[in-house]
């Protein structure tokens, strides 16, 4: 894989921050966008803009075709059986809220939902709201000191009361890759459905929803080189058809009278209102960018970055890593003895290096480790070993400044 040629497709990587070349290690928060995605969005607004699914005029039909083609591209990439099982959302959070509401309507008091100790707040709070609304109970799969789920405890949590298991594929704070295949099999064995939070997955690994056999899979466009404000909820047709709509409005109806409204078919039933058309088309372009890569090569490169950065960071006195799972992707969370993440992050920024500091929207994880937050470097396919060298040199300059 030619990293320099990939880098040249991302204009922002040539930017300078405070006069220093940008080193972007905050890919877990959002990834940068390749020219093809930027150009696609610009082209849409320059040449194709119209509302979709409605007009008989040429532009409307072209826009509709482009939007639906994007859906097809995504369907093929994630291996969904039908294109209408791919629902456009605002992002991961929106997708989870949709399921928590609509699938939640099928649940009854006393039903149980299982999540894990390493979930993002987005995969905790919607379920808590559902539990309050419906009188359901939330159970949590515990996590060990290395940041791995205790799956034997998961087995014990499963019962005939379990209706849904919602877990993250890859942890945004710790980088842990969960054995979702095992979780899905076990949950299905007792008749529960499974939602996988894939916000941190598709940009790193090839995902096939039919092979996984998950019932729902959610992700955001902006974390996989696409635009913000667009994401996908994949759901199995049979379950989506059982679920009532989430929001009412245009596009999601078949017939409206003041007495009774009937709902449209999938995917429109869950896509009320004029959608984020440019976002959907831009996301299609992001998937085409992913399709142009060999994902095995991407994973290999990112694994090398992770191993190299881990080895170099280990040389720093007083460093402690959070998340040392056996199966791990390109996220490194750490603290340096006596140094506050806010101070480290502020100084790194002045040297052109973007990392994330704080609790990463996973406060329960921080509580378990009894820390206020971490410094997180998260890599993407365009990062290099040279950038890691810059990062390590910067840390070595910062540490004596901050230590008494």
């Amino acid at each position: 894989m030619d990293i320099q040629s990939i880098r040249s497709q991302f204009p922002i990587l040539a930017e300078k921050i405070h006069g220093k070349p940008l080193v972007y290690f905050d890919n877990g928060a959002t990834t940068q966008k390749p020219l093809s995605v930027i150009q696609r969005i610009s082209d849409y607004y320059s040449k194709e803009n119209a509302n979709i699914h409605r007009g008989v005029h040429t532009l409307s039909q072209e826009a509709t075709t482009a939007y639906e083609n994007a859906r097809n591209t995504i369907q093929k990439h994630i291996g969904a059986k039908e294109n209408y099982e791919v629902l456009f959302t605002k992002g991961t959070t929106d997708g989870i809220n949709l399921v928590a509401f609509s699938f939640g309507e099928l649940l009854n008091a006393g039903d149980e939902i299982i999540i894990s100790a390493m979930e993002h707040h987005s995969n905790i709070v919607p379920w808590q709201m559902l539990c309050e609304r419906k009188g359901c109970k939330l159970r949590v799969i515990p996590m060990n000191e290395k940041g791995e789920l205790e799956l034997d405890q998961f087995d014990k949590l499963l019962s005939d009361k379990t209706k849904l298991v919602a877990v993250t594929h890859i942890s945004n704070s710790l980088g842990t890759v969960n054995d979702v295949k095992y979780i899905i099999e076990k949950a299905h064995a007792i008749g529960a459905k499974v939602l996988i939070d894939g916000a941190q997955s598709i940009q790193h690994i090839q995902v096939n929803v039919q092979e996984l056999d998950c019932d729902f899979y959610v992700f955001s466009g902006h974390k996989l080189f696409g635009p913000t404000g667009i994401g996908v909820l994949y759901g199995k047709e049979e379950i989506l058809n059982q679920m009532p709509p989430y929001q009412g409005g245009g596009d999601m109806i078949k017939e409206v009278t003041f007495e009774k409204t009937t709902y449209n078919v999938l995917p429109h039933k869950f896509e009320a209102g004029t959608p984020n058309i440019a976002g959907g088309i831009g996301l299609g372009a992001a998937f085409e960018f992913l399709n142009s890569l060999d994902m095995k090569e991407v994973l290999k490169h990112e694994q090398e970055l992770l191993d190299y950065a881990t080895a170099e960071l280990t040389k720093i006195e007083g460093i402690k890593f959070y998340g040392e799972a056996k199966e791990k992707t390109s996220v490194i969370s750490f603290l340096i003895d006596g140094l506050h993440p806010y101070d480290v992050g502020t100084l790194l920024d002045k040297m052109g290096i973007a990392v994330r500091t704080g609790h990463h929207c996973t406060q329960p994880i921080m509580d378990q480790f009894c820390i206020p937050g971490t410094i997180r470097a998260s890599f993407a396919l365009y990062n290099t070993k040279e950038e890691i060298d810059v990062f390590i040199a910067a840390l070595n300059r910062i540490i004596p400044m901050l230590k008494d």
Partner: protein
């Protein structure tokens, strides 16, 4: 020295540094000289919890002069608090309540006072002013 004069003094001090790292080296030094909050005041009700860093603030008023002491778990936050306190300490409550801390922008540190930064500093400035308002006679 008036609040304005003290602000100008800080602006002049920071004008000496053209490199960011030198600037922050100085802020870190200032953080070490912050009038530290006494342990007895480091209580939950004086804690301002930010997403990124935490701040404790104690305010007092004697002879119509405000006295602040504070602490933070992050040293850069501490340094910025030291600057803020240096400007308003020993000033009248009325002057503190109307102080706008514009010098922070002049020395290029406004990002630390941005509400989205969530380091506790925005709330701390608000608390400083509220305490001053309470003390206005």
């Amino acid at each position: 020295m008036s609040i304005k004069e003290k602000e100008q003094e800080i602006i002049d001090e920071f004008a000496l540094y053209d490199d960011w790292m030198d600037k922050y080296e100085y802020i870190i030094e200032l953080g070490k000289d912050l009038p530290l909050i006494e342990a007895q005041y480091k209580t939950k009700d004086r804690l301002i919890k930010g997403c990124q860093s935490q701040v404790w603030l104690h305010a007092d008023c004697k002879d119509n002069k405000m006295k602040f002491s504070a602490d933070s778990d992050a040293i850069i936050t501490k340094g910025i608090i030291a600057l803020l306190i240096r400007v308003v300490n020993d000033e009248s409550p009325a002057d503190v309540a109307t102080s706008e801390f514009k010098f922070i922008k002049e020395i290029g540190l406004q990002e630390h006072l941005s509400p989205t930064r969530s380091n506790g500093l925005v709330s701390m400035v608000k608390d400083m002013k509220l305490n001053a308002l309470k003390a206005v006679k």
